[in-house]
């Protein structure tokens, strides 16, 4: 007979959940150079990331956070805050949910959506830093990423289709024609579908 089963999470994730790093203490964010927040309580996830920046070098010197969410949400913001310290603003801006999940030693499929808010909040904080410092030309909009190579459909197209009413993979295909050729993007499209449905409609 097997004894107490493993957690659904990796040891690294468990460690970051048990001992989260860089939690913002107190309520004040005045001492920070950039503040970003994403998500909402009704959806079950909300993350705030605050950064201190060495303006001359363009390097993040400190990163702290607050997270309302489950164990993987807490752990992913914790590890993200460790990952970006010492990185340049450009490097940090390009950290993806995949990078976070990899650093955590992997995430269960149904928990991927819990880790996509941290990097978004970080990008919002970086953009906030640029705005505050009059560097509006540097403020970057979220860059579109091609998901379906065959039909040239981006994640922005997917998000738009969902906002316009697509709720299932089939409806997404009807609107965007994604995955109608080689079909290799099905998995990624479906996870984006779930993510955007969650973000926009809380379902």
């Amino acid at each position: 007979m097997l004894k107490a089963g493993e957690w659904a999470y990796s040891d690294t994730l468990k460690e970051h959940f048990m001992n989260p790093k860089n939690i913002l203490q107190g309520e004040d964010t005045d001492a920070f150079d950039g503040v970003g927040m994403e998500g909402n309580l009704q959806c079950g996830d909300q993350m705030m990331v605050v950064i201190k920046v060495d303006g001359e070098k363009g390097v993040i010197t400190d990163c702290q956070w607050k997270t309302y969410g489950c164990a993987s949400a807490i752990a992913s913001t914790s590890i993200l805050s460790e990952m970006v310290k010492g990185k340049t603003l450009d490097q940090a801006f390009n950290v993806s949910p995949k990078d976070v999940a990899k650093e955590l030693g992997g995430l269960p499929d149904n928990k991927i959506h819990c880790s996509v808010l941290g990097d978004k909040a970080l990008r919002a904080a970086i953009n906030n830093y640029y705005t505050r410092n009059g560097m509006t030309d540097k403020v970057k909009q979220e860059q579109a990423k091609i998901v379906c190579q065959c039909m040239n459909v981006t994640d922005h197209d997917i998000e738009e289709a969902i906002l316009e009413g697509a709720r299932t993979y089939l409806e997404l295909q009807e609107r965007t024609k994604l995955g109608t050729v080689c079909g290799q993007c099905k998995e990624e499209s479906e996870s984006l579908l779930e993510k955007f449905k969650h973000i926009h409609f809380g379902v």
Binding site: E27, T29, Q42, Q46, M48, G69, C70, G202
Partner: protein, 398 residues
Amino acid sequence: MAEMKVYFDNNATTPLHPEVKTEMIAAMEMFGNPSSMHAYGREARANVEDSRRKVAEFIGANEQEIVFVGSGSEANNTVLSLFICSTSQCIPGTRMRGTIITTKIEHPCVLETSECLAHRGVRVKYLDVDRYGKIDLDQLAGMLGDDVGLVSIMMANNEIGTIQDIEAISALVHQSGALMHTDAVQAVGKLPVDVRKLGVDFLTISGHKIYGPKGVGALFIRQGTPYCPFIRGGHQEKGRRAGTENTLGILGLGKAVEMRAQEMQGEHARLLDLKRALSRGIEERIDDISFNGHPTDSLAGTLNVSFAGVEGEAVLLYLDLEGIAVSTGSACASGSLDPSHVLLATGVNAEHAHGSIRFSLGRESTMEQVEYVLDVLPRTIQRIRNMSTAYIKGGVHA
């Protein structure tokens, strides 16, 4: 306080009663098929029928009215699925009426079966519940009519513990000529259940919620009630449920109800005391909380609490690290993106549903365990709130 092991998740499942365990271990050698006529078969048959007597007696039924099944879910699927046979060949002369009424707070095995039946042409109507989880008899009366064949309403809710007045509901349902089913999985063994007094036509029981084994349940079918088997192809259970009987499980279920009959009465007041101590302690020691479910018409051992600004899975796992086992209605713990359908039906907002924790106490729960939980819980909630966006300046709960 030193770490303790606290199992406050008895509505999910229960440990075997020690006497059930002893009886089952002693019966491990019994392998005969109850359908066989030889000594091996007769031994198994005798034990299956002995259990049937015990279960029938426990709920005030006749032995012939008890069918053993594989789980509470199977029993519920069986009852609802009668309605696929709308012009029944199996029950000559019976024409099932095509509409089912149920509630928004049923177990998924009822809700998802209902959805499936809706795809197959059965009409399903869902009763609302009030903020305490109670249905409205007037709404039910308004829905009943010549087209309604079955009403299925759970006796006690697994998440919030709210108890419905099944007796009054049955009377109303029968006036309209429909059949009445109650999923009594959480009620049997905790509340007095008498099928005649309740007036139900079908009633569902599960073994593992009452300190019996998993993989066994029982369905009460009032004599003379139209019925169609869910699992076909055998004469077992008088043709009402095919498949060789789970003899050991059935024996365990029989012993479990026997022990419930002895213990449940004295247990009720004790559990109520424990729950009161737990709820009072939570109220005194933690801010921004709200209790879910009915203040009085509720299972003695079930307490459902929402903690603002925290997410339930995080609470569950931090408590698990300290030896405390509970459940949550949060979406993250369920694997879906939706929080508890029961809490949402009572009008609890999504945030409070995500932050809900269910404590379900049982026969092994003690005041010492309640005190340990009251020691660990406030600092756990405080710890999570300290990292929550809900409590920052300008946050929802700041």
